[in-house]
């Protein structure tokens, strides 16, 4: 028991950080409460540092094999910690948008983070379900946190209904798989799967589980919620949704597809490729006419889910490694865009892209940061986003030797990536060549925000120019799946 607790030490630390923030909010005098954001960020940073002291080898398990601490889990845990740390900084800049309960926001971020980190280690459908729900239920609150804004409430209710529907699909799918095979553990399921070849009950159950996870990923046909919810949610939540929540879907899908049902995934034919293509095109075509930044990012998030699915469709170590590297570049680029957006609009509700006009003159540094983020998302060399897309397409082409459908997928990905450049360029055009929209100067940038901006810009550039170490971790983590 004590050994088990030592294995989940990182998650425990995050949960205690969340509880600590809540308690500190009770006892601190009102004047000192705003500092809690910085304290949370520091604590998350320390936990992130501590995570580098943990060895992935030998692989450790806890709670009867339900929980597994391997290279893949560690990669995602660090990823989630970094995302939550940056989101906390964004939330601090967004504080005027919340009437009250700043500390609650940071605490909820920590709890959602704990759910994501547990999900990264799931080896059992019970842990998968509970971790996923911890993330989802926390996000219902985070989305509608400014509770006097009709848009936030509406987004929250839409997320609630569709999220609960996805949970129902997930649980029913788990029930069907269990009824057919009699086990909920991934390893046991993988062992028994051969005897259930062609069993309709297993197949239907897995499709339902896939639906529940596809919702998290915002993949077609479960993407309808993304634009509305992204647009209504406050900026830090939107950033966390597009990075943390999506990556939770990615890691769980990896675990289920390649660890729980590897033999079925190998025979799934073109299903994943078709979903990847449809998701990419829905995202890039939907994003073109958008005028609201968060709605644009919502469609962009769908398109990125499509790009990530390309790596799944290759069913190779190469492809999964590319997915992980793509995510690492994605977190920096998205957070860069949302940091700048928060610094420009502060807690305001509006986010019309046209009002960014003249930012190039009003705040050149912020404009440059936004351009860097958008360029990385668009996949301009030598930034991280370019290398991520390149690796994904390369994995698809390499896989094409065995599975010619992947050549088509690589071509479609290339077209979608080119279309994506168009709408991200719209953002850059508004910043530098847009009509001057009001003369309101951008307020002073706090030190924490400046540090986060520099870190994100360094990440976007560094991953593009010196991809070595992170790519090494990504490949190491992907190799653990035994493809």
């Amino acid at each position: 028991m004590v050994n088990d607790l030592a294995v989940i030490g990182l998650e425990l630390a995050v949960v205690f950080a969340g509880l600590g923030v809540l308690l500190a909010d009770l006892w601190l005098p009102a004047a000192r409460r705003p500092h809690l954001a910085l304290v949370t960020a520091w604590v998350l940073g320390l936990i992130l540092l501590a995570s580098f002291g943990i060895e992935a080898e030998p692989v450790r398990t806890a709670f009867g094999g339900m929980y597994r601490l391997d290279a893949l889990a560690l990669f995602f845990k660090r990823f989630f910690l970094l995302a939550a740390l940056l989101v906390t900084v964004v939330a601090r800049e967004f504080r005027e948008g919340f009437e009250a309960g700043h500390a609650e926001y940071h605490a909820l971020t920590c709890f959602a983070l704990a759910g994501m980190m547990l999900a990264a280690s799931a080896q059992h459908f019970a842990l998968l379900f509970v971790a996923l729900e911890l993330v989802t239920v926390t996000f219902y609150v985070l989305v509608s946190f400014p509770r006097r804004r009709v848009t936030a409430l509406e987004a929250g209710v839409k997320y609630l209904i569709l999220g609960a529907l996805a949970s129902a699909f997930l649980v029913f799918g788990i029930a069907l798989v269990y009824a057919a095979t009699g086990t909920l553990a991934f390893e046991a399921l993988a062992g028994r799967l051969e005897t259930f070849t062609g069993n309709r009950l297993v197949l239907a159950g897995l499709l339902l589980v896939g639906a529940g996870l596809g919702f998290k990923l915002a993949a077609v046909p479960f993407q309808i919620w993304a634009p509305d919810v992204y647009q209504g949610a406050p900026f830090p939540t939107t950033a966390f949704l597009s990075v943390g929540s999506k990556a939770t879907g990615v890691v769980l899908l990896l675990r289920v597809l390649f660890e729980a049902v590897p033999s079925l995934t190998a025979r799934s034919g073109p299903l994943l490729s078709v979903l990847a293509g449809l998701t990419m095109f829905y995202g890039v075509l939907g994003a073109i006419p958008q005028r609201s930044l968060r709605r644009l990012m919502g469609y962009s998030s769908i398109a990125n889910a499509g790009f990530l699915l390309v790596g799944f469709a290759t069913r190779s170590t190469e492809g999964v490694g590319a997915v992980l590297f793509y995510l690492a570049g994605y977190v920096f680029a998205v957070l860069l865009v949302f940091l700048v957006a928060t610094l420009v609009w502060r807690g305001a509700e509006a986010d019309e892209i046209a009002t960014l006009g003249g930012l190039g003159r009003r705040a050149p540094a912020l404009a440059a940061s936004l351009t860097l983020g958008a360029a990385s998302l668009a996949g301009i060399p030598p930034l991280a986003g370019f290398l991520g897309k390149f690796l994904l397409i390369r994995a698809a082409v390499l896989g094409g030797a065995e599975n010619p459908a992947l050549y088509w997928l690589a071509a479609i990905t290339l077209v979608a990536a080119v279309v994506a450049i168009y709408y991200y360029f719209g953002l850059v055009r508004a910043v530098y060549w847009g009509e001057e929209a009001g003369s309101a100067s951008v307020g002073p940038v706090s030190r924490s925000a400046r540090a986060a901006l520099v870190a994100c810009a360094a990440g976007v550039l560094g991953l593009g120019v010196f991809p070595g170490p992170v790519l090494g971790w990504a490949r190491l983590a992907a190799r653990g799946l035994g493809l």
Binding site: A126, V150, L153, V157, L160, A164, V171, G232
Partner: protein, 101 residues
């Protein structure tokens, strides 16, 4: 005739589909939410029945988790719906039209 696992699964699938139809067709948020609960409980029925026929308790333990999580979800969900009702004086999905292109 003793009821077998398939009988339970058919009942549970019927309940699940009833819930799904409710979510798709009904227009009141509270009724939609009740339909969602029906879907979750359909899954619970399947889990308990499967646990009985498979011969281990994993399914029953899973049901405890599902019930607990559903309770948490309802607590948050009803709070959200009440907050929305206070602002908009409505609980109908047709009125949720602020977020559109």
């Amino acid at each position: 005739m003793n009821p077998g696992l398939e009988h339970y699964l058919v009942v549970s699938a019927l309940l699940f589909c009833l819930g799904l139809v409710g979510v798709v067709l009904r227009r009141n948020l509270l009724v939609i939410y009740m339909s969602l609960e029906l879907m979750l409980n359909a899954a619970n029925l399947a889990l308990v029945a499967a646990s009985r026929f498979v011969g281990n308790l994993d399914g029953q333990v899973m049901v405890f988790f599902v019930v607990t999580v559903a309770a948490a979800e309802v607590a948050v969900g009803l709070a959200l719906i009440v907050a929305l009702y206070r602002r908009r004086q409505t609980a109908h999905v047709e009125d949720l039209t602020t977020l559109r292109l």
